[in-house]
Symmetry: C2
DNA sequence: CATTATACTGTGTGTCGCACTATATTGTCA
DNA sequence: TGACAATATAGTGCGACACACAGTATAATG
């Protein structure tokens, strides 16, 4: 899709990376993918299943998450949780995020008028 | 660099996209690349020349920026400024950024303890 | 004659979106 | 009841694009 809606691309790029932060933050309690998806969407975090599942597996392979199948219910669900390493990374990313907020605010004029 | 400092990669990804926002926000007044670089670094926005210059050209090719060579001084400088389109995109990205702040705060626990 | 100021290019890697596949469990309706 | 759709749940493969990095290039300045 070359030129359909270029704005969309900017938004995508902006959200990029923050998705990881949001996922890590949401997995301080165990959750399975499908539920996580809905949690995030309720928070206005625009991510779709096709993006989330690979992200979860990537984070697991990077050892930020651990996963366990819960087969006690009729429908098996794969629960993900933050590992110790994941908690550390989350904490540092959150700090960075907060620092970025300050920087962006400074550069973009905190509260100034931009039309 | 496969496994040297994986943390660095997470940070890079997190910052990604925000760079564009920061650059757009900084170019509401005309600036040339080298000066912009230093402005951003003073604001703790970690970007290097090799990243900034391609970014500027990309934004120009996407018609968010316009550029003009100033050759009146001994050292020629290429001044970039937000175009009308650039202002629109900036405004929308900034809104998205603010919305993301809220979402991330909600998901990551606004002010809760995370150690 | 080294350093700084200033700008550009090419290559690799990683993430994300998107379009798929796959399956079991519900719910609906003839 | 039995057919069929919808939902819940998870996965894969591919392509686009942006960023980091390591280069090149040149003119002014100290």
């Amino acid at each position: 899709m070359p030129e359909l809606e270029p704005m969309q691309n900017f938004l995508t790029e902006l959200r990029r990376g923050s998705l990881t932060l949001a996922v890590l933050g949401s997995l301080r309690q165990p959750r399975y993918g499908y539920a996580l998806l809905q949690t995030l969407q309720e928070q206005n975090i625009d991510i779709e299943a096709n993006t989330l599942y690979p992200l979860l597996r990537r984070l697991e392979s990077q050892e930020l998450l651990t996963s366990d199948w819960d087969t006690s219910e009729s429908r098996p669900r794969k629960y993900y949780t933050l590992s110790r390493k994941g908690k550390e990374v989350f904490s540092r990313l959150l700090k960075e995020w907060e620092s970025m907020q300050a920087s962006i605010s400074a550069v973009c004029g905190k509260g100034e008028n931009h039309e």
